[in-house]
């Protein structure tokens, strides 16, 4: 009996000591983990002519499967498309009521791909860290870690990660890689940015691109919406957009300016830093048990346990 009583205090003492070792440290303040000098791309929707060359280039550099309709088929514009497991980027066409000089409806073309968020929700959510924000800004996926839980798809505010649902054993999470390998090389650019015939996609340092974006919209305030999409959205994204039509009209939804992972990470780290909360709870419950139901700990039979005592 004495032995287990001492055993009890040993365990309880250890939890108390662990607790005492963490004074004040428990309050974790959340800090953005955005890389300081990430690359980015500026997509100027005022320039895009909807040629779908970027789709073609993306398909080629990533070795993606041949699409049903060829890349010069404009009938694909009749539907709103989303990037999926077979296409990392798509261009959509919108008619927002604008007309050209001959009074014809004037389309706006919008290229969609992963935004490579500065603090990506997908990477914060990923159970194993298979998704990762690299120093150069690219958010990439590591097949060696992924278990296929699809929590990244739940998390991404832009609904980008796509899944190979038809693969029974080794399905992959598919998304734009920001052409990680290409941009890791000196002078390398993403496939889509390199091919664009009208320079609608500019590749560079995010900080530089932000300046460029503001320059362009300020230079042409008549035509351009005075907003850089991706500057503040979800705390900032590596890919930035400027547009001549309001963003709501082209399915670029209003996003909170707060980093998406901030709330969950704050909760997680407040509760789990040094495991102080679970240890405290363990201590409280242990104390309760010691006062209310000591025989459970000492093994001394209570009235209800006599019968099962072997002795």
């Amino acid at each position: 009996m004495e032995l287990s009583r001492r055993g009890f205090f040993k365990v309880m003492g250890a939890s108390g000591a662990a607790l005492a070792a963490t004074p004040g440290k428990a309050k974790a303040t959340w800090k953005s983990k955005a890389p300081p000098d990430a690359y980015g791309c500026l997509v100027d929707l005022g320039r895009c002519i909807g040629c779908r060359k970027c789709e073609l280039a993306c398909n080629k550099v990533n070795g993606l499967p041949e699409p049903e309709k060829p890349f010069d088929d404009v009938t694909v514009f009749n539907q709103r498309r989303r990037p999926d497991d077979k296409a990392f980027t798509v261009v959509n066409r919108y008619y927002t009521g604008r007309t050209d000089e001959r009074n014809q409806p004037k389309p706006t073309f919008v290229k969609v791909q992963c935004m490579h968020c500065q603090d990506p929700a997908c990477a914060s959510a990923c159970i194993t860290g298979a998704l990762h924000k690299n120093e150069n800004g690219a958010v990439t996926w590591n097949p060696a870690k992924c278990i296929g839980c699809r929590y990244c798809m739940v998390a991404c505010p832009f609904q980008i990660p796509a899944y190979e649902y038809s693969n029974p054993i080794t399905p992959r999470v598919r998304k734009c890689t920001f052409c990680f390998d290409r941009i890791s090389e000196e002078g390398g650019t993403p496939g889509c940015a390199a091919i664009c015939p009208v320079e609608a996609i500019t590749f560079g340092r995010r900080s530089e691109l932000l300046k460029l974006a503001h320059q362009r919209i300020k230079r042409d305030p008549v035509n351009y919406v005075q907003h850089v999409y991706g500057e503040k959205e979800v705390g900032g994204t590596s890919w930035l957009y400027i547009s001549q039509v309001p963003f709501e009209k082209i399915d670029s939804y209003n996003m909170p300016t707060r980093q998406i992972p901030k709330l969950t990470e704050t909760i997680q780290h407040t509760i789990f830093s040094y495991l102080w909360a679970p240890i405290t709870l363990f201590g409280i419950l242990g104390g309760a048990m010691w006062t209310l139901n000591r025989q459970q700990i000492t093994g001394k039979s209570g009235p209800g346990k006599e019968k099962e005592d072997r002795s």
Binding site: G129, C149, V154, Y163, E164, L263, P278, G286, Q296
Partner: protein, 389 residues
């Protein structure tokens, strides 16, 4: 103190029509599981690029974990707070929790795309991820449950299987650690499950999206623990023709009044503070689902429970507890399925035959295993009624 009989195997005929139905459901699910591993998730589910989590996560995992809360709530009551009166229900609740979590794990294995990679979170830690925390807690808790169950098995087979007796003797002295750890782990992952959807502020309907979600999940799990025990004990004693154990269940339901009241107060308070009641009257499926959840799943049963007559009546107590269980189940379904909408979605989600079949099969599996366990192991204390008439 416990005037109760000791738990003993139940000598009821095993092959009843009900058990055959269970078997059918399990075999049916088996076919769909085979199909899932041949054609992939696309072959049996309606999951899509905009709907990554469906029925399996909503019911098999989220609801399953919530309804297994009877395990830790009864353990806390009887073993930690020393209310020995309730010991009669701790073993059935422990068994349900153990089976429940086992099937949560099975459900997860089927759901994740790379089932064979399920062990990877044990190696690649990602403490920023809520899912990682939940997974770790569930894995550890599952083992704690198995350990807590060893004495039950040892009581029966200890003479024949030496190792069981040895383990049991070790556990005699250390069980308290596992009991407390079980409660701590439960609190952690029950609330963690609520944090899961906080990563999707733009997709979860504001009626449910609140930073208090983890706390609400924890409180509702604690509140549903005893009603679930009453619910399943009533079904078990009725179908196995046992004494009804009302002398344990009635007082258990009294404790629930307070627990459910706290949950209700927080839920309504949160709604008022965030002003989300404005969505209640818009007639959308979300608002209706929310109203059903809170009125029939919380408010009505809460009021019912306050009547002593309800708590004494076996039938009414059962109905009331079934409502509470249904309310918490609906809450989990609401949070994970109904509330989840992305603006990019082209079509809405409704579970496929395959998803429903596998979910039904897993639930049948739990009941089937429960049936086997109470037949061969000393789990249930109630004695068989003399069958007259």
């Amino acid at each position: 103190m416990s005037e109760h009989a000791r738990p003993a195997p139940v000598a009821a005929p095993f092959w009843t029509p009900g058990v055959l139905v269970l078997l059918f459901l399990m075999i049916n699910a088996g076919f769909f599981i085979v199909a899932r591993y041949i054609g992939g998730l696309a072959a049996v589910t309606h999951l899509s690029q905009t709907r990554p989590w469906g029925l399996w996560i909503g019911i098999d995992v989220a609801t399953g974990v919530a309804l297994a809360a009877g395990g830790f709530t009864t353990a806390a009551l009887a073993h930690i707070f020393g209310r020995h009166h309730y010991e009669a229900v701790t073993r059935p609740a422990l068994l349900t929790a153990m089976l429940g979590y086992t099937f949560v794990a099975i459900g997860l294995v089927i759901d994740i795309g790379r089932s064979w990679a399920i062990w990877k979170p044990l190696v690649f830690w990602q403490p920023n991820s809520v899912l990682f925390e939940v997974a770790m807690c569930v894995v550890i808790y599952l083992h704690v449950l198995y350990i807590e169950f060893i004495p039950v098995v040892a009581e029966r087979f200890g003479d024949r299987i030496r190792i069981l007796a040895v383990l049991n003797r070790i556990l005699d002295k250390t069980m308290w650690i596992f009991i407390i750890a079980g409660v701590v782990l439960s609190c952690m992952h029950q609330s963690g499950l609520g944090s899961l959807m906080l990563i999707a502020p733009t997709k979860v309907h504001p009626l449910w999206y609140t930073p208090l979600l983890p706390l609400l999940f924890l409180l509702s799990a604690i509140a549903v623990g005893y009603p679930m025990v009453i619910f399943e004990t009533t079904i078990a004693t009725a179908s196995l023709k046992l004494e009804d154990e009302m002398e344990v269940l009635s007082p258990l339901s009294r404790i629930t009044i307070g627990l459910l009241g706290i949950y209700l107060a927080l839920k309504i308070g949160d709604m008022v503070v965030r002003g989300t009641y404005v969505y209640l009257a818009d007639g959308s499926s979300e608002s209706i689902s929310f109203l059903v959840e809170i009125i029939f799943g919380v408010i009505v049963p809460w009021i019912l429970l306050m009547c002593p007559a309800v708590r004494r009546s076996r039938r009414w107590l059962f109905i009331t507890c079934a409502m509470i269980v249904g309310g918490v189940a609906l809450n989990r379904i609401n949070v994970f399925l109904v509330a989840f909408n992305t603006p990019y979605a082209e079509q809405s989600y409704f579970p496929s035959i395959g998803e429903i079949s596998i979910t039904a099969g897993l639930i049948a599996g739990i009941i089937f295993m429960y049936r086997i366990a109470v037949t061969y192991l000393p789990v249930i204390s109630a004695r068989r009624r003399e069958v007259t008439s």
